[in-house]
Structure formats: structure tokens, C-alpha cells
Amino acid sequence: MPVTLAQGEAQCVIRLDGEINIGSAAELKKLLLQALASGRELRVDLEHATELDVTALQLLWAVEREARASSRGFTLAGRVPAEISIAVVVAGFETFPVGMDQK
């Protein structure tokens, strides 16, 4: 699966692998909701992702909004590949996700 969820003691890590597009959007949404419901801190690992399409971007954006609304931690784990950073800029997302410099 391109989208996997690992639950630790204090945090959930959602790892995205390869091309994340409409084909994995439903699965990603399910895991994000699961992670939110767990109440743990949420980390999203984009290091092995090669492509994020709009469905993935808007899901991450929405989960960030919700995590912040409930004052829960939401961070990116690992390095963000250059392709992803470029795609995000092309898409006109200036402040997302979560500030690329934040680790």
C-alpha cells in the first residue's frame, strides 16, 4: 500500500510511498481520520513520496486544520523530496503543508 499507518505510544506516523493520487485518496482519508481519533500526535512522512496530487494535498491541508483546531500536534517527519516541494509550489500552496522547513 502506498499509504500506511504506524501507531506508537505518543504518536501516529502516516507514511506515504510513491505516487499518492486519487487512487489512494480514500485510504489516506481513512487513515487520517483514524489517526485523529486516536488522540495521539500526528506525523506525516513524505520522504518516500514521489508525487502528491490535489486530492492528497487537500486531505493533508484539512487534517492540518483539524489537528490545529484541537491543539493536537501535526508535523512532517523526515525530509521532504524536492519533487514534492515543487509540486506544492506549482499548485499555488504557499503556506502548506505545515511550512516545508518545519521538521
Binding site: N21, V54, T55, R65, R68, A69
Partner: protein, 730 residues
């Protein structure tokens, strides 16, 4: 879920259709070079192929089409003239695109050298550098496009994808990337419409974009980027004014930063996030699936599915099942009649009515206009005229005539051979035509029309006509006919259809091997059709194919002779009259009947098929309209109409032409379906062989025919035994 292969397959199918449209646009453009509408059509077709091609990973194809598209953009902007050279080059490029599609579908590979050659010529023509096919650049390079146009200006673009944009396989980010190729782009995504995670439909795009594009490209170039999502998005493109840019930037900046600065208020104030966005926001909050989807399509058309695409195999299966249903229904009628139970009879009649409607419906679904087949030949005529140095115009009539899909599928080859024949042998070079005081440019007229239960398709040219004497001499030479035989023109022309028959002294690339007309004959016979050739020396030739409307089910009239059942096509039958012994005596042993003053010759099926059963006191004559006039068929009893599912007799009986198939009756008996046209032809021929020089109907009238049972009996299989064998097999 998305299935990439399925989309690719759909793209390949769609691309072929677009290419057909492109081809017809190009050919029409050739005849009408100033028509901007046609240039636009060609441009849009190329753009769609390029765009969808790139989207589904056919980069080489996209890059190649892009170059051609650029050329047409030049034409559209008035910088390039439509010339024969451009049209021919475009047609060659179109073939190359076709080859690339075939390659993608697992066919023979497209030649890279050919691509390069076409592109080189295109460059010469446009005087511009193009992207090489091998360079996998699906998007247009900005330099040539931008440089080609006037001054740089700013455009304000708002792009809101509709609810179903993603489901069409479109990736909005690719569109934005393509837009970026046109010039410098400032872009802001608006996330205001994204609902809370729980309510978010993961396969829908909630993000909309506001952009300012600085480009020298014309407005069309911008809207062309969105050309295939135009139906499912909201798009505005306006020349930007300075304050507007300012305002936009501010507003979108607010929208995007809102969640990070004040997330809670953002969620609650969402519906007020701007007038244009509110409907979407409102919709996303309404769980009601019936709420109108976002976008232009929703407001313009009530439904996006006015037609659907179904694989032909599924349709065939459907028609087969209806055929089986008709057979079972016939059994029900039989049982109902035997039981004499009014309830069963009522149900049986109701089912009969429904089955009949279902049958007509299923056949009408398979009916297609012949237009696509006809239009395809414009290209053939254009190319052949060029190769043969002749001037030929193709006129088309009755392209909306509908035929069963399976018939249309098998028409392509025979029509192609007929047209090639006309172009090569029939039509003279322009000089010869002028010398014969004809128009310099010749005409091939392709027409289709309905005639009863058949469709007549004709290929007529105004060329030199067939030299009957040459055909006759060749036939004698080949030993097909005796040197002293007296033949009518129609009989002489019929030799043209013999395999390996050709009067051409020279075999050309186009024709002359004597294969073509044999193919025509075989294909038409396989369709249970007939061929009629008419020609006047010096005035041209016309070949008319008479084909049945459908191959699956016909309305028939069930008749009985002794213990044998036959079906006559209902459309061919006119009336039914009684034949008593007195009538027979009055006719002095001649096989003619007097029907309200008209003398109708008849054929006794009993004698014809050698059915040895006692003759009843009263017989019946079915009067049928055939190509040779009205004829009667004498039977013991007319049982009534019958929905006839045609079953093939199989390879073993393929030479039995008088019978066009068989059908299974309600009681399990097999009835042979007779072909009245062929039956009458055969009777006339048999009689002519017996009596020397052939006459047509007049002779038949003068001396009543006494036909033997020719084909069937000659091959040692009288009809009842055919029936018995089919029964044994089924």
C-alpha cells in the same frame, strides 16, 4: 477507483474517433481553404489528442501532435496558408499518429524515421523549429508560442474545478503546469471550500485557483489549456487590471493563511468565504447527494449521459439472447394454442407483444448510420486521385441511412474495392475526359437508401464505363463461356465478379489483379446481398449492392408444403390467394395465375423441392415482389406470420443460395428460410438452360416455367433432408 489501463484504453478508442473527425476536417478544408471553422476544428482535435495523450503517458504522441497543432495555430492566426502541401503533410502526420496509437495498442511499431521526416517537412513549411518527437515533452515549449504572438499582457484567470473533474481522470496540477508554459504565472490556491475531514469526498477537488498570467499568447491559447475540462469546471479569463491583481492577491492570501492564523473562525465562517465559493461550500455541507454538482455542466445540461458507450460484443450477446427468447416465445404460443386455456393464451399473447417490441428495440440499438464508413472513403479518393493523377470528387448521399452494425462492419472492404476499381479503371485521366467533352473533374457518387427490407448501396462513377466486348472476349479466352453464346449485358458484366477475372492489360498498384471484385462478391454474398452492375460505355458505371437490413431476426411468413415448413420474408410478400384445381385446369397446365387481371407466373415449391406428398384440394399462392417482378409461390397452407431468428446453415451448406438460413419453430421443427429473389432467378435460369437463349419475365409468361429442383436437388440434398440434418444437430 481509477484504473489507469482502463483510461488508457478509453483514450485510445477516443483518439481514433478524434482522428476520423480530424481527417474529415482536413479533407473538407482541402476543398474549402478559407474556412476558419474547419481550421478551428482541426486545431481542437489536435489539441485534444495532444493533451489527453500527455495525460495518459503517451509522451511521444503528444510531442508529435504538438508540432502539428502549432502549424494549425499558425493557420488560425493567419500566418500560414492552407496549401495542398500542408493538407497532404497533415494527412501523413495523421497516419503517423494512427500508427503510434496502434503501437500503444500492441500493434506494429510506428517508424521513428517517418516521424522525423514529417516533422522536418513541417518545420520547412512553418519556418519554425519544432520539438523533436523523441524529446518527451508533453507540454508546449513556451518560447516559440510566446515569441510568435504580440505584446505581453496580464490575464486574470479563475479556475474552479467542478465536482466530477477528478473522476474524468484530469489532474488539475498538470493543467496549471501547462499554463505555466505560456508565460510567468502568479498563482494562489484557495482552500476555503475544503470541508471538515470527515465530510470530505476524497475523490473530489475542493481547491480553486486564482492566477495572474503574464503572456504574449492569445486568449485562445489560455482557454485551450482547459479545453477538455471546460464542461466540468468554472473558468473565467479576463484581461487583468492593476487593482484587480492587488485585490485578488490579497483575498487569496487571506483565504490561504486563514486556517493557520485563525482555524476555528475559518471553519465557521466558511460559507461566507466569497460569493463564488459559497455554493460549493454549502454543497459540501449538505449530505444530500441530489444537490446539483458544482460547475457549468450542472446548470447547462440536465444530465451528462445522453449516450453511453457499450462494447459491441455485449450488444451481440444481447441480440442473441433476444433471439433465444423469440424462439422460446414461439414454443409458448404453440403450447397455448394446444392447451386452449384462455389464461395461458392471454399471457402468451402479452409475451408475444413484448418480445416483438424487445426484438425491434434490440435491432434498432444495433443500427448505425453508414456515415462513418462513407466519410472514410474521402481520404481514399483524395490519396488515390493524387497517386493516379486524376481529378475526382466524391459525393455522398444518404449517409444517415441506418444499417445493422454487423452489416456495416463487413461493408468496408467491398466498398473500398469498388471505389479503387472506379478510380483505376473507370475514371479517365483529365486530358482524356476533356477530349471526350466531359468535365475535367470526375465524380464518384456514393449513396445509400432503404428499399423494403433491404438497403441499396451504390457506387457510381461518370468514367468510361465497362467495355462489354472486352469483358466478353476475356470470358471466352478464359473458357468461362462458349464462343457463340448469346449473352445480355447484365450477364456479361456478371463475369467481372468471377475470381481472377481482369481485363486490365497492366496490373497497377491500385487494381487489376482480378482479386477486388471477387472480394466484393464474396463479402456481399456473406451478407446475403446481391450485386447489380449497370454501365454505359463512355458514361460511367454504377454498382449497386442490395443488402438485408439485419442479419439476426426477420419478420417472416410461415408456410407448409406437405410436412416441410418454410419461411418467406414478410417484407417481400404481397398477398395470398387461393389456387384450386379448376384454376389449374383453366391455365392449360401453365404455371400462371390470373390475379385481378394481372398474370402472375408461379413456382410450385412442391415440385421445386421434390416433396412427394399428396396434393391438397386447395392450395395457396403467396405473391411476392422480387427483383424480376411479381411471382407466386404455391404452398399447401399459409400458417401466419412468424418472428424468425435466422440460424446459419453452416459451412456445409454454404453453396445453397436459395435458402438464406433456417429457423427453429415452436415445436422444435426446423423451417428453411427461402430467398424469393434467388428462387425466381434460379427458376428463370433453369428454364433458360432448358430452352436456349434466355428471356426474362416475358418469356416466363409466354411459356410457364417448369423448373426442376436445381441447386438443392442437384447437390443431392432435397430440402427435407437438410431440415432433418439440422434437427439432428440441434
Amino acid at each position: 477507483m481509477l484504473d489507469k489501463d482502463k483510461f488508457r484504453q478509453a483514450f485510445l478508442e477516443e483518439a481514433r474517433e478524434i482522428l476520423l473527425e480530424l481527417e474529415s476536417s482536413l479533407l473538407a478544408l482541402n476543398d474549402n481553404r478559407g474556412d476558419n471553422e474547419l481550421v478551428g476544428r482541426a486545431f481542437r482535435a489536435l489539441h485534444t489528442i495532444k493533451g489527453s495523450g500527455a495525460m495518459f503517458g503517451f509522451d511521444e504522441l503528444a510531442a508529435f501532435s504538438h508540432n502539428l497543432e502549432n502549424a494549425f495555430d499558425e493557420v488560425r492566426n493567419g500566418r500560414l496558408q492552407v496549401t495542398s502541401e500542408l493538407i497532404n503533410l497533415s494527412l501523413a502526420a495523421l497516419d503517423q499518429i494512427k500508427a503510434m496509437l496502434d503501437e500503444a495498442a500492441g500493434g506494429v511499431g510506428a517508424s521513428v524515421a517517418a516521424s522525423a521526416e514529417i516533422l522536418a517537412k513541417l518545420r520547412q513549411l512553418t519556418g519554425k523549429p519544432g520539438t523533436h518527437a523523441a524529446a518527451a515533452a508533453p507540454s508546449p515549449p513556451s518560447a516559440p508560442l510566446a515569441a510568435a504572438s504580440g505584446a505581453t499582457r496580464d490575464w486574470q484567470i479563475r479556475f474552479c474545478p467542478g465536482a466530477d473533474l477528478m473522476r474524468t481522470g484530469t489532474n488539475p496540477l498538470l493543467l496549471l503546469r501547462e499554463l505555466r508554459q505560456l508565460g510567468s504565472l502568479r498563482i494562489k490556491a484557495s482552500m476555503a471550500a475544503i470541508p471538515p475531514l470527515g465530510e470530505l469526498d476524497p475523490e473530489r477537488c475542493y481547491i480553486s485557483w486564482e492566477m495572474v498570467l503574464s503572456t504574449s499568447a492569445p486568449r485562445e491559447a489560455i482557454s485551450d489549456v482547459f479545453i477538455f475540462v471546460a464542461d466540468c469546471c468554472e473558468l473565467t479569463i479576463e484581461p487583468a487590471t492593476a487593482p484587480a491583481i492587488e485585490l485578488t492577491a490579497k483575498r487569496t492570501a487571506e483565504a490561504t493563511t486563514a486556517p493557520t492564523t485563525a482555524p476555528t473562525t475559518e471553519i465557521t465562517t466558511q460559507p461566507a468565504a466569497g460569493p463564488a465559493l459559497s455554493p460549493a461550500a454549502a454543497e459540501s455541507k449538505t449530505p444530500n447527494p441530489k444537490s446539483p454538482p458544482w460547475g457549468r455542466r450542472a446548470s447547462d445540461t440536465p444530465d451528462n449521459a445522453s449516450s453511453i458507450r457499450v462494447p459491441a460484443a455485449k450488444l451481440d450477446q444481447f441480440v442473441n439472447l433476444v433471439g433465444e427468447l423469440v424462439t422460446v416465445q414461439a414454443r409458448l404460443v404453440e403450447i397455448a394454442a394446444r392447451r386452449e386455456d384462455p389464461d395461458v393464451v392471454a399471457v402468451s399473447e402479452e409475451i408475444e407483444r413484448l418480445t416483438s417490441a424487445l426484438r425491434e428495440n434490440s435491432i434498432s440499438i444495433r443500427m448505425l448510420p453508414i456515415r462513418a464508413t462513407f466519410e472514410r472513403f474521402r481520404r481514399l479518393v483524395h490519396d488515390l486521385a493524387r497517386d493516379l493523377h486524376k481529378e475526382v470528387e466524391l459525393t455522398i448521399e444518404g449517409a444517415d441511412t441506418e444499417l445493422d452494425k454487423s452489416v456495416i462492419d463487413q461493408l468496408n472492404d467491398p466498398l473500398m474495392h469498388l471505389i479503387r476499381n472506379s478510380m483505376d479503371h473507370g475514371i479517365e485521366p483529365p486530358e482524356t475526359r476533356l477530349a471526350a467533352s466531359k468535365r475535367r473533374s470526375a465524380t464518384i457518387h456514393l449513396s445509400a437508401r432503404h428499399s423494403g427490407d433491404s438497403v441499396l448501396i451504390s457506387v457510381a462513377d461518370d468514367g468510361g464505363g465497362i467495355d462489354a466486348e472486352a469483358v466478353r472476349n476475356r470470358a471466352i479466352e478464359k473458357g468461362l463461356v462458349a464462343t457463340d453464346a448469346v449473352l445480355t449485358e447484365a450477364q456479361i458484366f456478371a463475369f467481372i465478379l468471377a475470381p481472377g477475372f481482369s481485363t486490365a492489360r497492366q496490373v497497377t498498384d491500385v487494381s487489376g489483379r482480378g482479386v477486388g471484385m471477387d472480394v466484393v462478391r464474396r463479402s456481399v454474398e456473406a451478407l446475403r446481398g446481391t450485386i447489380d452492375i449497370a454501365s454505359k460505355s463512355g458514361n460511367g458505371t454504377s454498382v449497386t449492392l442490395r443488402l438485408p437490413l439485419t442479419l439476426a431476426i426477420i419478420d417472416g411468413l410461415l408456410v407448409r408444403v406437405g410436412h416441410a415448413y418454410f419461411v418467406l420474408p414478410l417484407a417481400a410478400t404481397l398477398e395470398c390467394i387461393e389456387l384450386t384445381r379448376q384454376d389449374i385446369e383453366r391455365a392449360n397446365g401453365k404455371h400462371v395465375a390470373n390475379v385481378r387481371g394481372e398474370i402472375i407466373p408461379y413456382i410450385r415449391l412442391r415440385e421445386y423441392f421434390n416433396i412427394q406428398v399428396e396434393r391438397p384440394e386447395r392450395e395457396q399462392i403467396m405473391v411476392a415482389e422480387t427483383e424480376d417482378g411479381r411471382y407466386g409461390f404455391v404452398v399447401d397452407q399459409v400458417l401466419g406470420d412468424h418472428q424468425t431468428v435466422i440460424k446459419n446453415l453452416g459451412r456445409f451448406y454454404r453453396h445453397v443460395h436459395l435458402v438464406s438460413g433456417a429457423t427453429i419453430l415452436g415445436n422444435g421443427t426446423v423451417a428453411l428460410i427461402l430467398d424469393p429473389h434467388r428462387l425466381v432467378r434460379d427458376a428463370i435460369r433453369t428454364m433458360a438452360l432448358a430452352r436456349g437463349p434466355l428471356g426474362a419475365r416475358a418469356n416466363v409468361r409466354a411459356a410457364a416455367p417448369r423448373p426442376r429442383a436445381p441447386d438443392v436437388a442437384a447437390q443431392g440434398m432435397p430440402a427435407p433432408s437438410v431440415a432433418a440434418e439440422i434437427r439432428a444437430c440441434s
